[in-house]
Symmetry: none
Subunit: 432 residues, 2 copies
Amino acid sequence: MTLPATAAPRIEVLSVGDELLAGTTQDTNSSFIARELFALGLGLSRVTLVGDTAADLRQAFAAALDRSRVLIVTGGLGPTVDDRTKEVVAEHLGDELELDPSVLEDIRARFAARGRAMPEINKKQAMLPRGGHAIPNPVGSAPGVHWSRAGREIFLLPGVPAEMQAMLRATVLPQLALLFPAAERRLVTFRTCGIAESELAERLQPLMQQHGDVVWAFYPSWGGVDVKLRGQAPAGGVSRAGVADERWAGLCDGVRRVIGHYLYSESPDVTLAEVVRRLLVARGWTMAVAESCTGGLVAARATEVSGSSAVFTGGFVTYANEAKTAWLGVPEDLLAVHGAVSAPVAAAMARGALDRAGAHVAVGVTGIAGPKGGTPEKPVGLVFLALASPEGCWTRRLHLTQRRDMNRAIASQLALDLVRRHCCGLPVGDPE
Amino acid sequence: MTLPATAAPRIEVLSVGDELLAGTTQDTNSSFIARELFALGLGLSRVTLVGDTAADLRQAFAAALDRSRVLIVTGGLGPTVDDRTKEVVAEHLGDELELDPSVLEDIRARFAARGRAMPEINKKQAMLPRGGHAIPNPVGSAPGVHWSRAGREIFLLPGVPAEMQAMLRATVLPQLALLFPAAERRLVTFRTCGIAESELAERLQPLMQQHGDVVWAFYPSWGGVDVKLRGQAPAGGVSRAGVADERWAGLCDGVRRVIGHYLYSESPDVTLAEVVRRLLVARGWTMAVAESCTGGLVAARATEVSGSSAVFTGGFVTYANEAKTAWLGVPEDLLAVHGAVSAPVAAAMARGALDRAGAHVAVGVTGIAGPKGGTPEKPVGLVFLALASPEGCWTRRLHLTQRRDMNRAIASQLALDLVRRHCCGLPVGDPE
């Protein structure tokens, strides 16, 4: 997905930190920034990962700045001596650092709120360059810095993803949107769950060919695939380029038809957990879970959104068979005949949770997460999901991967998706 | 973690592909290469992600080559027109591409083995530069290329991770091991939980100053802080540089003393969950959990490691007060008098889980994850942990942050850490 060179300013990311070069930490900041820029009609031209060594950092910064209209630097704003991004950049720009008393006060207050005195080394984080502006950090102690210098915008942000993300959204992106107002853009996100990227791409192929002037992007993750479309509205006047209202609406309808019941949201920030929460609230329902191989992840996912306590009664993590029987009432002979990893046991777990929690809907999950514990009949990656409600019980069989973490993540998302489907009156599996 | 410039050759990675800059594909190749190089005593000095545009690629390649003793380029060796790495690099090096009949035959054979004729565009992959050597690709159709030129080693590898990894291990790493036999290195990792990076750094400051020839690196995450130290062993002979055995042992002992009971592992790959699992196995114990605000994350964390089913009986996610009472036996008047977020309720939850699960140790967590639900007396971020065993019950009060995801992650890790502490006979909190 290359943005037209004429339309967009050159934007680069410089990610700083020895841990990025050591392979112990994956740089996720640059891809997050790239995805957020997409929504503004902007794109990245280059990403550089560099270590904490001052000489290297200085050289990489100078070269990137030379090439860029906008340079976003992440990492190296912490309190320790190997955090030297701010110092190196300020020196390069000929700016002196001075203590900002109000920032220092903020940092002290952050520590005080947690009942601690600010360690002396954190004072370093309150040093700000004369010619730059502090970027507030709503999440951590290190503020960022913004310079407008010689026709260039330079943003320094912390490397901790949560802090970087919050500051990018609150301060950096709004400023970029002001500086580079895009021609009227059309942008839509389709969030899907339960369908593979390759199948989605194959199904959408005809629409992609038909609308070659629209930028299509696929963002797969263990939770599903997001499909983003970006187009340019007609500029008006004599130019006929761009996607007219009617065509755009028709295209979006076409995509919705193709994705069908795999589509759970058209808001990029609304997670499946939030969709499920809203659906339950709208119906006045509560949910409960009973899980084995996902080990608490379904519950954790359901409760990741604020306000979930109103709809989530609780969950049982029944790893041991005794717990399945004692806490959920799964009959011992069912376990003996079918084994713990089976559709009947998943169903009995869901019904047990429904009953014990007095909920309107409950899901059950049992499977072999791996990497050990597989047999020829029940291999690693075999998972059974069940959904129980007063109207009945349904089950689904999944064949996932060899990876424990992936299996747990995918199964927990698909388990939650059963609740969405049930709330929407969609088929959730085979009747028990 | 910077390698001393004198001891190690400068190695860079250039990752090529528009998809890396769009944020749709995460560049995992460079961190894989970094981890593999580490085992050879080598390290990366820089990573550059660049798109498929020829001019950009040419500039990035030339600059990286200029800085490097070894340059590993990944991506852009496919058959399509926007795969142009080989062409751009060969041109820069003044090499002509010519068809290699044996490579062409290999590619044809690969397709034939899958019952397909080779598409004409794949012929491009059999074009090799006169001055380079083909690197066999055991997994896919595109061979790589290796040049030794002007004292530099240049390796072109495909971007598909499976192909890149196989070729790196089979060809590139053995060549690098021959070219750069490593001096003996000393390396140690201290994994900590429950102490902030800044406090850790402050406590270690005297040792860091005393051992300035040792590389110190701090890797903070929501799960704790890893501290890594790397030194060079004395080279022998007249040179006295390097850290002698005795000094290294003394330094490591010093770090252990400073970190104290916050240290849970000295193996970089062993997680807290794995440490807890091993401790429980060694004692023949089982554990259970009862959680409210962490919503299943403590259970999910405890079960993230293979083999956890032998020590983890199960868990209760009791979001609703009714669930706390019905499933765990938390007295209603306790909830009424102290509120759900209180030390007595955390303790009652832990004791309930211990009892219901018949486990040897159980933890309870209750708190206000946020962002809503806080009051002046019980603000967002207030969390109570409890640990119950047949010997007694202990509680701990935490003041965390304003962020729901962070509070949940930190609290669940600290809850698991209580089990480690209990197994090790360390203090876990205030007696109930």
